[in-house]
Amino acid sequence: MPSRLFLDAEDPWVNWDWLLNHVPYVLDALEQHLVLTVIAVVGGLAISIPLGLLAHRAPLIRLVVIGGFGAFYTIPSLAVFALLVPFTGIATTTTAEIPLIGYNVFILLRNVVVGLDAVPREVLDAADGMGYRPRARMLRVELPLALPAIFAGLRVATVSTIGLITITAVIGLGGLGQLINQGLQENFRTPLVVATLGSIALALVADLALSAGQRFALPWSRQA
């Protein structure tokens, strides 16, 4: 890792020379950030959609899973990392992803259930009248109509995840959070500013991309 002596009163907010000389280093951190984000969001989707379909039909399951993941969502990520490290190790993807996926399950689950709840009774009756079997009705009528709500949750989950990943710097990962940590350890502003702004920019770009993707993939969704 590139290092630098500090205690420079004239330290500018962004030292462009340093930045230009550390492009690959910054890109590596960005790549780790993206990989951790994709795992957390895809993992959250993979769990929340089937769980949401179940919760939509069974009120007891809904109460238990939304309550359970809601309680987990309240726990600060640093606390979850601290609880996991003795068991799943420091600087492991598992330690980083368990809380991130868990938080995303909560965000997405709520939206899956709300989206499914909002499918009008008449639509279900029409599908039944057309001879859809329950499974086909679920997959080809209900889920597509719930997708706009799921997409809204996906955007919230993605933006939150990108911010939270910086905290994994505490357990030796961090993506762009590594640079924030370096800025802290070396009292050096450039990596700190680059990583903070970079993380914000990444979140905004991901949000815009998902919103564009939604318009393209789900032309039937009327609003974002």
């Binding site: 309680a71 969502y73 309240t74 990520s77 606390a79 420091i90 762009l176 959070g177 924030i180 903070t196």
Partner: protein, 235 residues
């Protein structure tokens, strides 16, 4: 089992219940930093959100600010505040306040916007002046969602205050960060348990306060604000 045992030992060790690194002191630090930040944040955010919501102006800004707030990495903001303000409580309070403001603006804006226009018209018809209408008709109806915003902010502030230990601050985060540094698993886990309990207590306590503040009749009319308030997580 051995880890659980050592955590139990840590909690039952009287040394961990006294002095400047004892649980009561760390609890006080954590709660004080969080409460001050939420209070300052509320004093800034609520008037802004309430006024914007009352007049229905700058809606995009009021709603998107919590989206933007979600994108801000709390760790980065804390470290920037640390490099600007140096050691002490000030950088922590500045960073926590900045994180507390967006959800409170959005929720109080939405709360005021959601007041039924018929109710406002009825209030006007009954001769309420604008200020009286805002204070005595709109605000009581908006309290559930405003409180949900405060709760959401407060839980995140308590969570982020844990990170203050990274910039040499106090609070329960101290046990986690020092536990990592000293490879003391018992202390790390004990810190994590304390932090989680405090976050839960904040959530449950403010939900209770919400129940006390919302008149019974209004509560019956409204879907639980919990379900309508946007989720917010930055730490």
């Amino acid at each position: 089992m051995t880890i659980l045992g050592s955590v139990w030992q840590w909690f039952t060790n009287p040394a961990n219940w006294q002095g400047s690194n004892g649980i009561p002191t760390r609890l006080l630090e954590h709660v004080q930093l969080s409460a001050e930040s939420v209070l300052i944040g509320a004093l800034i955010a609520l008037p802004v959100g309430i006024v914007l919501g009352h007049y229905g102006r700058f809606g995009n800004l009021a709603i998107n600010i919590s989206n933007a707030g979600r994108a801000v990495p709390s760790f980065g903001i804390l470290v920037i505040a640390f490099l600007v303000f140096g050691l002490g409580d000030l950088p922590v309070i500045v960073a926590l306040t900045a994180l507390a403001i967006p959800p409170m603006i959005t929720n109080s804006y939405v709360a005021l916007r959601e007041v039924d226009p018929d109710v406002k018209e009825a209030a006007r018809g009954m001769g309420y002046r604008e200020l009286a209408q805002l204070l005595r008709v709109e605000l009581p109806l908006a309290v559930p969602l405003i409180m949900a915003g405060i709760r959401s902010s407060a839980v995140q502030v308590v969570a982020t205050a844990t990170l203050a230990a990274l910039i040499a601050g106090g609070g329960f985060g101290r046990y986690i960060i020092d536990g990592f540094a000293q490879l003391n698993d018992a202390m790390t886990i004990a810190g994590a348990i304390l932090v989680a309990l405090l976050a839960f207590a904040t959530e449950v306590g403010l939900s209770g306060l919400e129940r006390l503040l919302v008149p019974h009749g209004i509560r019956l009319l409204m879907a639980p604000a919990v379900r309508r308030a946007a989720t917010f997580k930055v730490a």
